[in-house]
Amino acid sequence: MTMLELDNIQGYLIRGYAHMLYSRFVYLQISDAGSAKIWLSKIWKEITSAKHFHDKSKISSTHLNLAFTHDGLRALGLNEENLGAFSREFRQGMVAPHRSRLLGDTESSSPENWSWGASHQEPIHLCLMIFGNDKQFVDNLEKDKVVCLNYYEELASEFAGHGLKELFYIDGKTQPDNKEHFGFRDGISQPIIEGSGRVGDKDDVIKTGEFLFGYKNEFGVYPDSPLIVKEQGDLNLLSSDTGGSGQKDLGRDGTFMVIRQLDQDVNKFWSFMNENSKNPDGSINVAESLKLGAKFMGRWQNGAPITLFPDEDPGISSLVNDFGYAKFDRDGLKCPFGSHLRRQNPRDNVDDHGRKESLKLSKQHRIIRRARLYGEIYEGSPTNLTPKGEVGLVFVCFNADISRQFEFLQYTWANLPKNKELYNDPDPIIGAKETLDPGEEQNFTIQDIPVSKTIKNIPRVVTVKGGGYFFFPSINVLRYLSTL
């Protein structure tokens, strides 16, 4: 195992910047490629790398990362032959008709209703990710916001003079305990990239090539990296294809970033839980409602996995992550087969495969998640379920193979209702449809003794409002792009 060149990898892939509670994602268009390349030739030096600091005081109070859409690379002047070397998913973008069908982006979630990223809207070229943290304070959102926005102002003052047009921005917040709007702790289980220097459970250590081009993936082969087909720019800045083709590699130490703005209907979620767990007299049974919510999610609100704590929330925030389903819950009696987390990372229990085979399959479909909240900071619960205005999260994930990782998770493990031995059960958080075909059912099955129970007609609680596929290049490649 080789150590990765952390200086060359953009930091957000390896680190979640969890202590930076405030962020602003700015979406830009390139109006003048020449000026934009001058900007890029300066800004790449400011990009936050994945370099590790033992001395925490040396960590900068602001972080900056940058990603391109396919349109953006074209606008910058990458020629058609080289643009064609990217994977089809990235070239097509998230809103191609077939992709929308696959991802379940229909009805209210259909791109025609999106606020951004759809084909009828202004094409996005860049996403600039700006983070801030006031080091004088601990976990202070307002103070972090000031630092973040000051940095933004500084950066934004350079846009107009450098051929960059700001289209819009979305501010993302993080709660100190990382809870999302339904009230559940998020982002607990993350894959660890082999060679990144991070440590953790061996079942979470994933081959580098699942997340970075230029390294072998879980199949033992190199991922489909964009290679230079037609020479342009200062090619000395690029490394050669590790796959041995002799071509220069645009992808190495970079990856793809998926962004989706997911609107959360907190009221619909908890009303449904309340309704399906109420007392015989019709009043809300808070404990049962919380339990049902935990069954849907796979963890209690404080983060404890229901596989290990099946009866009640242990209360203290539990980040326990070292468990398998085959070992503790083969029959789904604790964590139902259909729960969001069990579907999205089935660990050692994929279909009816053995543990070893299951782990292998699970590892072929991992993503690194980086969600941030938008709208009012709100912690939903059975009795606290009506936030002011729209709330949701900006879901971000990283993967080298969008088709086999992000899209597989969304289609095969979330939208398809046939997971495991199930019949009519899509993922209850991100896979439910809005309207059903005649005769179609949409349920959540809770395995139980003596016999399982069906929660019928689960609602769609998450609506997609925007999104896109981005290329998240290495820092060297950012520099290279300024030489096109």
Partner: protein
């Protein structure tokens, strides 16, 4: 009842091929009120497809000048003649609209169901290997068992069973089901779930051990005298034609099932022919003895699949009807089934590099996925009799039925309840 599969390959009148493609597009567009409705009414056909081949660009680099042909594939129940007769009675008008563009189709005013069948029978081609995910289950049985499971589920969900012994629940369900005339068929026919044929497996194992030295020598010959000269497939998915992929994707992922049609050319020479024939023989035996439980080499998502060789064994067609999306799901089963897929397809032209017939190939994930997509054909019309069921559902429904009709111990009854 036994399930069977049949393939017809009919020459198209070359100058009529565009008209045929337009006609099939029209049939597909109206299929819900047209042919698919007719096939639903027949209730003996599981899957059907029409595919026009050799009419346009060959994405696999086939340089041979070929004339267009129309494939018809039917997976059906029972006797071939009876099925064909009913098929051509039910869909006769549509058949005429299609086959009028094909060579030698009888004049329209002289057509009868019998003459349509006779025409198709002249163009039959043989299957090399056939896999069935739910052997023994007819369309009718699959539909009845679906209703049975839904009925039981409804009944179970309508009551609180807390503290009730599993045996009691089992017999309450049984009483409820048997008091409903809709399920009278349960008492008229008993069914069993297919079993693994262990004596067969042992015999096959002994046979393979006995010829192992020969197989090893064979693999060495293939490796040193053939594989090293192979032209290999070395493209990645990003390098495939957008035109082809756009056309393929246009009819994918609408429901929970998908289809796959693939056409490749055989490598020349008898060594390759013998190798692939041996692999088909082995596949057929394994399918008969072991892969009769709903999984093909560990793949739990295939309803019907088959390989066909035609034009003097110079070309190979592969058809599959499966759950989920091919491109993404195929990757999951490389680990389990890679050797089998490689053993067969390494004998066809421009496959990812193999060693000793069964290594390399499919295990080179990126090239293999790209190869699979690149050799795929556009299917012009496709029918599934039960698009709402996965093959796991189909098999589970049979298990529910079988166990329902038995008298069960408390332990077995608890297991039965898990199936619901």
């Amino acid at each position: 009842m036994k399930q069977n599969s049949i393939t017809f390959l009919v020459p198209v009148i070359p100058e009529k091929v565009q008209k045929l493609l337009d006609q099939l597009k029209e049939i597909k567009r109206n299929s819900k009120q047209g042919i698919s409705k007719d096939l639903d009414a027949l209730s003996i056909i599981h899957y059907a497809r029409w595919v026009v081949i050799d009419h346009g660009k060959s994405w696999i680099g086939d340089t041979e000048k070929r004339n267009p042909k129309l494939l018809l594939v039917l997976d059906y129940d029972g006797s071939q003649n009876e099925m064909l007769l009913r098929f051509s009675e039910q869909t006769g008008n549509i058949l005429d609209l299609v086959y009028v563009f094909c060579k030698g189709y009888p004049p329209l005013d002289s057509l009868t169901p019998e003459s349509r069948v006779a025409y198709l029978n002249e163009h039959k081609i043989h299957d090399a290997a056939v896999y069935i995910g739910a052997p023994g289950r007819s369309v009718d049985q699959i539909q009845k068992e679906k209703h049975l499971r839904n009925f039981i589920r409804e009944f179970v969900d309508s009551r609180n069973w807390e503290g009730v012994p599993a045996q009691t629940i089992h017999s309450r369900i049984k009483d409820e089901v048997l008091s409903n005339p809709e399920f009278d068929f349960l008492q008229q026919q008993t069914v069993t779930f297919p079993r693994i044929n262990y004596p067969g497996v042992v015999l096959l194992g002994i046979g393979l051990i006995a010829i192992a030295p020969l197989l090893i020598i064979w693999a060495l010959i293939v490796h040193y005298f053939y594989e090293r000269k192979d032209v290999n497939f070395t493209r990645k998915r990003s390098q495939l034609s957008d035109v082809l992929l756009t056309e393929l994707e246009a009819s994918e992922d609408f429901k929970h099932q998908n289809q796959f049609t693939q056409l490749v050319d055989m490598k020349e020479g008898n060594v390759r022919l013998i190798s692939i024939k041996f692999m088909f023989l082995l596949s057929n035996l394994l399918i008969k003895f072991i892969f009769n439980q709903g999984k093909l080499m560990g793949i739990p998502t295939i309803h019907f699949a088959k390989w066909v060789m035609f034009e003097k064994n110079s070309r190979v067609l592969f058809f599959s009807n499966f759950d989920g999306s091919w491109q993404q799901y195929l990757g999951d089963f490389i680990d389990n089934s890679g050797w089998g897929l490689t053993g067969i397809f390494s004998n066809t032209k421009v496959f990812p590099k193999t060693n000793f017939l069964i290594t390399g190939g499919a295990y080179l994930e990126e090239y293999f996925l790209a190869w699979s997509r690149n050799s795929q054909l556009v299917t012009n019309y496709w029918y599934s009799a039960y698009p709402d069921l996965s093959i796991k559902n189909v098999n589970n429904n049979t298990l529910i039925r079988v166990e329902l009709m038995k008298t069960l111990s408390e332990r077995r009854a608890a297991k039965f309840l898990k199936l619901l």
